[in-house]
């Protein structure tokens, strides 16, 4: 009589899931307010941590996120944002944008989430690709010298579409 011992396969996390291989994410950042800069950066960072090739395209107001002069000084306004749950009229009073901005900055740093320039450093160190919009650069009379060092190039919208062939796309 033979005894057959069945050995159960080891349970190991599937880090190299075949379905995930070659996954790409393209994020278009078109807004320059502090509260609209973070969603793109957080999702980019998360995607990179999951091994997803990630490209960010900064355009229109989103250009402020990668412009050296403005990137550390993005602001948040209550105006036009009912999610603050405060009377809209308050937002127009002097100092309210500064107050809202400092509140948001503090809330973000309490979570140990970096400020914008440091967040860009982390994204670049994680292998993320940053691209600046040609038209936005021309409109603002800015060159590569004016932009965050981690920006790979100023490219046209069609070049971005070309680079992100097959990517999932997120417009913010």
């Amino acid at each position: 009589m033979t005894t057959v011992t069945t050995v159960a396969p080891a349970i190991i996390p599937s880090f190299d899931d075949v379905g995930q291989q070659g996954r790409k994410l393209a994020i278009i950042c078109s807004k320059g307010s502090l509260d609209m800069a973070y969603p793109g950066l957080i999702i980019a960072n998360a995607a990179l941590g999951e091994g997803v090739e990630t490209h960010l395209f900064f355009t229109f107001w989103g250009f402020d996120i990668i412009t050296k002069n403005t990137m550390a000084d993005l602001k948040m306004t209550m105006l036009g944002n009912p999610a603050t749950h405060l009377p809209q009229g308050l937002g127009g009073l002097p100092g309210m944008t500064a107050l809202a901005t400092s509140r948001l900055r503090r809330a973000i740093s309490l979570l140990d989430v970096p400020d914008v320039p440091e967040f860009l450093d982390q994204i670049v160190d994680s292998g993320g690709h940053l691209w600046a919009c040609r038209m936005s650069a021309d409109m603002n009379h800015l060159t590569s010298e004016d932009l965050y060092d981690g920006v790979e190039a100023i490219i046209s919208a069609s070049d971005f579409i070309d680079k992100t062939n097959g990517a999932q796309l997120l417009f913010i």
């Binding site: 050995v7 159960a8 080891a10 349970i11 190991i12 996390p13 880090f15 190299d16 957080i42 960072n45 998360a46 941590g49 999951e50 091994g51 979570l111 140990d112 989430v113 970096p114 967040f119 982390q122 160190d125 994680s126 292998g127």
Partner: protein
């Protein structure tokens, strides 16, 4: 809670395969776990593993990549080189800890 046997070590794991109890981890188990996901441990890997274990003991949760970089002093770029593609999860797995919950 399923139990699995890795190179002769019997451990309890969650549904994904992460160690269910960080207390079942040992320094002898780390290279066994690493081998399961194709990683051969070097001194640099060990620096990250030891930081993660020590930090978990104090904080009660697994450090995110940012914390490993800012508090542990191991640059994010290095972590991606040591634990390619999914550094936070791979490192947590090898260190016998739960996946980090933080977003950043």
């Amino acid at each position: 809670m399923p139990t699995t046997t890795l190179d002769g070590h019997q451990v309890r794991v969650d549904d994904e395969g992460f160690l269910a109890d960080p207390g079942e981890w040992s320094e002898e188990l780390a290279p066994v776990l690493a081998a399961q996901i194709g990683i051969t441990l070097t001194g640099a890997h060990w620096d990250a593993i030891r930081f993660l274990r020590d930090d978990f003991r104090v904080q009660g949760q697994t450090a995110t990549l940012r914390r490993i970089a800012t508090v542990g002093g191991i640059p994010v770029k290095t972590l991606f080189e040591l634990f390619p593609q999914k550094p936070a999860k791979k490192l947590a797995y090898i260190a016998g800890l739960p996946k980090p919950h933080g977003c950043v």
